[in-house]
C-alpha cells in the first residue's frame, strides 16, 4: 500500500510538472492570480469597519472560492476528461492502477492548491502592505480549515467527475455551478443579505462554514456581529465541514470503483466516435 502511495504521489507530481510546462495551464493559474491582485488593489483603502480593511472580508472569500474551484471543479474536470481518453481504463489494466491513479490526481490537486494559496497570500500581503490581520493562532486556524476543507471537497471532485460523462458539459455547467454555490454560501455577498430561501442551502453547504472560519481568523473578534447568527461559531463550523469530509470519503472510493468497473474499451471507442462526429 505504501508503494502504491509513493507511486501515486510521484505520478501526481509528474502530472503537475507537465502542467507547469503547458502554457494553457500556466496561463489559467496566472489569470486567476491577476484577478485576485486587481480585486484586492481596487479595495485596498476601503474599510469594512474602523480598523478592519474590506480586504480582510474579501480574502477569506477568495481563498474559499479558490478551494472550491481547484478541488471540486478542477479535479472533476480532470477525472471526466481522463475517463474519456482511456486513462482510467489504463489504470484498471495495471496492478494497483486505480489506487495509484486516485492518489495521483489527489497529489496533483494538492500541489495546485499550494501553488494557488501561497501566491494569493503573497499578493495580498504585498497589496495590503503586509497587514493581513492574522496572528499566529489566526494563521494556524486558516491552515487547519484549508486542510479540513480540502479533505471535505476533494471527494466531491471525484464524485462529480464520475457522475458526469461529458467533459465539455462539466467544463461549462460546472463553471456555473461553482458560481452558484459560491453565491449561495455567502462568499460573494454576506449570507444574511441573501433571499430567505437561499440561506438554508448556504448553511447546509460546507463552503459557508469554511468562509466563516477564515473570516473569523482575519477579522477582529468584535466583527462577529456582522456574521449570520451574530457571532463566531468555530466549533460548529469545524464539525459541519468534518461531517462533509466523512460523507465524501465514504462515498468517493465506492463511486470511483463502480464507474471504473463499467469502463471498457468498447465504451471508450463509442465515445471517441461520438466525439469525432461532433467535430
Amino acid at each position: 500500500m505504501t508503494i502504491a502511495l509513493r507511486a501515486g504521489i510521484r505520478r501526481g507530481l509528474t502530472e503537475f510538472g507537465i502542467s507547469l510546462r503547458t502554457p494553457a495551464d500556466v496561463l489559467f493559474i496566472v489569470f486567476g492570480l491577476v484577478i485576485v491582485g486587481v480585486v484586492l488593489w481596487l479595495n485596498r483603502d476601503a474599510e469594512a469597519a474602523p480598523g478592519a480593511p474590506l480586504a480582510w472580508f474579501i480574502l477569506p472569500s477568495i481563498l474559499t472560492i479558490q478551494l472550491l474551484f481547484v478541488t471540486a471543479y478542477g479535479l472533476a474536470t480532470v477525472i471526466v476528461t481522463e475517463r474519456e481518453d482511456g486513462t482510467l481504463l489504463r489504470a484498471r489494466s495495471l496492478p494497483t492502477g486505480l489506487p495509484v491513479y486516485s492518489v495521483g490526481v489527489t497529489a496533483r490537486t494538492l500541489a495546485e492548491l499550494v501553488c494557488t494559496f501561497v501566491p494569493t497570500l503573497a499578493i495580498a500581503a504585498a497589496v495590503l502592505g503586509g497587514a493581513l490581520g492574522l496572528d499566529a493562532l489566526g494563521l494556524a486556524t486558516v491552515l487547519a480549515m484549508l486542510v479540513l476543507g480540502t479533505v471535505a471537497l476533494l471527494p466531491f471532485g471525484f464524485v462529480i467527475g464520475t457522475v458526469f460523462r461529458n467533459p465539455r458539459s462539466v467544463g461549462g455547467w460546472g463553471f456555473l455551478a461553482v458560481g452558484a454555490v459560491a453565491f449561495a454560501s455567502g462568499l460573494i455577498q454576506p449570507l444574511a443579505t441573501l433571499p430567505a430561501w437561499v440561506q438554508p442551502i448556504g448553511l447546509a453547504l460546507p463552503l459557508f462554514w469554511i468562509g466563516h472560519v477564515l473570516r473569523g481568523a482575519f477579522l477582529p473578534a468584535e466583527l462577529g456581529t456582522l456574521e449570520f447568527g451574530g457571532g463566531w461559531h468555530f466549533g460548529l463550523a469545524f464539525a459541519i465541514v468534518a461531517a462533509w469530509a466523512i460523507v465524501g470519503l465514504v462515498l468517493a472510493p465506492h463511486l470511483l470503483r463502480r464507474i471504473a468497473r463499467r469502463e471498457t474499451a468498447s465504451a471508450i471507442e463509442l465515445r471517441r466516435q461520438a466525439a469525432l462526429q461532433r467535430i
Binding site: 509528474t14 507537465i18 489504463r90 489494466s93 495495471l94 496492478p95 469502463e263
Partner: protein
C-alpha cells in the same frame, strides 16, 4: 482444470438486453501458445477479450484465466496479464520513457523471487523499435509508433499472458515484420501465451499457431491454418511450366498430383509451385458458410478445380 491451461472458458454467454453478443463460447489456451481470434466486425472478438481481461462481467459461463476468475482477480493476477486494447489516447502529455518507467514501477512489488521483474525502459523501447523516441511526448508519436508504445506498455511487466486487440493497425510493413518477430520471441523464449485479434489474415497465419474464428457469437473454427483449410476441403493450387506453356491445377492432395506429374517422362516440368489454400479463402468460406445456408452452398461450388490455362 488442466494445469497447462492458461485460459479456459466454457459456455461463455454475453447479452446486452435482447442482443446476444456471445452465445456459448468455449475456448482454451495452453502455455506458450499464440492464438489468433478472427471474425467479422461485431462477431464478439473484443467482448471476448474484455471478458478474459476482467473488464466485463459475462452473463453466463465459466471463465478461468491463470487459475482465477478475471472479474474478481486481484493485483497479483493483474501483474501477470498484459493488455493492449484498441485505440488508446491516454497520457498524451507524458514523455514516452517517463510513462514506461512509471508503469514498470507498479509491477516491481509483484516480481517473483528469482524472476526478472519488469523490463528496463531502454530494453523495452529497443524491443518495440522506439529507442530514439524515449524523450518524445506521447502525443507527438505517429499512429504506428503510438501503437508500438501500447504494445510496450502491455509487455512492461513481462506478462505470462498477453492480450492484443488489433495490435498492428497503422504499422508499416517493416514495423509489422518486427512485431511478428517480437511475438515469436516472446512465445519461444519466455513461454508467453498470446491471444490476439486481427483483421489481417496473413498476419494471423504467420504468427498464430492456432486460429479461432468467431462468428455471430460462436466459435465456428478452431485449428491451425492448414487444419482449417483441410476442414473446408479446399484444394491447393499447383502451377508449373511445361514446354513453355504455363499450367494451373487444383488438387485436394497436391503431393500425389506432383509425384505423378514429375514421373511423366515425356515432358519437362519447370517453375513448379504448390500454393496451399490461403487462410483468406478459408476464412471467407467459413464465415460465409455460417452466415446463410444459401451463400455457403454457392461459395462451395465456386471452387472447382480449374483447367489449364495458356498464356
Amino acid at each position: 482444470m488442466d494445469a497447462d491451461a492458461v485460459v479456459e472458458v466454457r459456455g461463455l454467454r454475453m447479452t446486452y438486453g435482447a442482443r446476444t453478443v456471445l452465445d456459448g463460447v468455449d475456448l482454451r489456451l495452453d502455455r506458450g501458445e499464440v492464438v489468433a481470434l478472427l471474425g467479422p466486425n461485431g462477431a464478439g472478438k473484443t467482448t471476448t477479450i474484455e471478458v478474459l481481461e476482467g473488464f466485463r462481467q459475462p452473463t453466463a459461463g465459466e471463465v478461468v484465466v491463470l487459475g482465477e476468475d478475471p472479474s474478481r482477480a486481484g493485483d497479483a493476477w493483474r501483474a501477470k496479464v498484459g493488455v493492449v486494447l484498441q485505440s488508446w489516447r491516454d497520457h498524451a502529455r507524458w514523455p514516452v520513457g517517463q510513462l514506461l518507467e512509471q508503469f514498470a514501477a507498479l509491477y516491481r512489488p509483484f516480481a517473483v523471487a528469482g524472476g526478472q521483474g519488469p523490463y528496463g525502459v531502454d530494453e523495452l523501447l529497443e524491443l518495440v523499435g522506439l529507442a530514439d523516441r524515449r524523450r518524445a511526448l506521447v502525443r507527438s508519436l505517429s499512429g504506428g509508433q503510438r501503437r508500438r508504445l501500447d504494445v510496450a506498455i502491455g509487455l512492461v511487466g513481462r506478462p505470462e499472458l498477453l492480450f492484443l486487440d488489433e495490435p498492428t493497425t497503422g504499422f508499416d510493413p517493416v514495423a509489422r515484420h518486427e512485431f511478428h518477430e517480437l511475438i515469436h520471441a516472446l512465445s519461444d523464449f519466455d513461454d508467453t501465451t498470446v491471444l490476439l485479434t486481427t483483421h489481417d489474415l496473413a498476419e494471423a497465419e504467420k504468427i498464430a499457431g492456432r486460429i479461432l474464428i468467431l462468428d455471430e457469437g460462436r466459435i465456428v473454427a478452431n485449428g491451425s491454418a492448414a487444419e482449417l483449410a483441410r476442414a473446408m476441403a479446399h484444394s491447393s493450387e499447383v502451377t508449373w511450366r511445361e514446354d513453355g506453356v504455363r499450367h494451373v491445377h487444383s488438387a485436394a492432395e497436391p503431393e500425389a498430383f506432383v509425384r505423378e506429374l514429375l514421373t511423366r517422362r515425356e515432358v519437362e516440368v519447370t517453375e513448379l509451385q504448390v500454393r496451399a489454400q490461403t487462410l483468406e479463402a478459408t476464412y471467407l468460406a467459413m464465415v460465409a458458410r455460417h452466415e446463410t445456408a444459401a451463400t455457403a452452398a454457392a461459395s462451395a461450388s465456386d471452387r472447382r478445380p480449374t483447367n489449364e490455362e495458356a498464356r
